[in-house]
Symmetry: C2
Subunit: 257 residues, 2 copies
């Protein structure tokens, strides 16, 4: 079995994410959907509305991963500079796209609203870019090579993601199984490390939980092969049973003790 690995990065753009004014909701949403599609999200960056920062991050990410998804900075105001920055990164002119002008012009005419210079900014994109349809508020996102440029408003971002997912190549799906474990990482760490070593085709994650009083863990086995996944999960369940038995023996010494 040679599993095809498809990778992705996300670039979230916006001063408001870095000042704390807006708490990002798009990263987690995209992460969930890519995982379901068998695409490995490998890196996320958040940068300010600054052209140099956007260009540098985009060029680093698009060279390294199969896909790059961006959010934010494609609205009508002066601080929306994502279209310019993406154009610059690709060395393409940033133009008022004719089809986007038509879609937006018709929408504003229907709503008896003026198609202002600011609104026309939303039709700007690198020359030749393909559209990402925006069923929420019309102004399209766009695609250049392996870069998908989408809005920052979560409702619009989510609608655009739904529109691009069907065209992405999906990788061999990563299977996963979550195993709740009542013991803290300190109780299981060494044993779990040995299980990971014995099951190299899997990736075993340990996620501590803290309820204000004590730590427990959620153990997650991930693998692209079902048999490998099951074998590692069995080893973990056996480990939990062994710890339980050892603790029970320690607190209830038998008649010989």
């Amino acid at each position: 079995m040679s599993a095809k690995i498809v990778t992705a990065a996300m670039l979230a753009i916006g001063d408001e994410l870095l000042s704390g004014r807006t708490k990002d909701k798009n990263i987690g949403h995209l992460a969930d959907l890519l995982t379901l599609s068998g695409i490995d999200l490998k890196e996320v960056r958040i940068v300010a509305d600054e052209e140099d920062a956007i260009v540098e991050a985009l060029n680093a990410l698009r060279a390294r991963y199969t896909y790059v998804f961006t959010s934010g900075g494609i609205g009508p105001t002066h601080d929306d500079i994502t279209a310019d920055a993406i154009s610059k990164a690709f060395g393409l002119p940033c133009v008022h796209d004719a089809e986007a002008m038509r879609l937006l012009g018709e929408m504003y005419a229907r709503r008896n609203m003026e198609f202002t210079e600011a609104r026309q900014r939303m039709a700007r994109m690198p020359q030749g870019a393909r559209h990402i349809a925006n069923p929420v508020s019309t102004a399209p996102g766009f695609i250049v090579e392996n870069v998908y440029v989408m809005a920052g408003v979560p409702q619009v971002f989510q609608a655009m993601v739904d529109n691009v997912l069907p065209e992405l190549q999906s990788g061999a799906k990563m299977l996963s199984r979550a195993l709740p474990c009542p013991y803290g990482e300190g109780d299981i760490g060494t044993l779990l490390g040995a299980i990971q070593k014995a099951h190299p085709e899997t990736s075993i994650g340990s996620y501590p939980k803290y309820d204000g009083q004590r730590f427990s863990t959620e153990l997650v086995v991930r693998a692209r092969d079902q048999a490998a996944l099951d074998a590692a999960a069995e080893a973990i369940l056996a480990m939990i049973r062994d710890i339980e038995a050892a603790k029970a023996a320690a607190s209830n010494p038998g008649p010989e003790a």
Copy 2:
């Protein structure tokens, strides 16, 4: 006035953030606190529990910004490799810190728990690193030069941030004023762009809101100088009044119309 600019980056470490299993809560929290301290958070990266990825991101960020704050990967399990990666980035040996061993050893002794090999992993850090106290679960974070290494569990991360904030240099505080605006970005974009140009000492952000039916905006003026802030805010309020008046005139034509 020469305002001192202090910058920061955050590096969030963990496969679980990229798979969507865990929705990050630490970035927004740190962003809020740094903004209050007058420290500009300029960039955030999220990377997997992979040594090369952590080392590369850390070295890029620590060269560029006044401070770097990391979250995640300092627990006791095999996938907690942050201490090793930070050590490698600085070219320092990763050792069991004597004071951390003492703190953890005493804590487990008090609780009648075994100080296992896995738990001893939590005492590992680059040789000579300073501690960040952890009042929640004892295992310390650590500081090497301008890099602050903290836990990923939000309660512990927040306690560690509280412990390091007092020692940071704070910059000239960024003042901000939020102005709710009932009009969408398309209505105000051109006028707002002109106001930004006329008030170059300020940074005017426009944050669209969408309630499922129509867009409005929150306009945020930021500046390090109060008079500059007030002047830009006044210009924005005048703009909103002018749009209101124009709309009222359009819908209620006077007797001459």
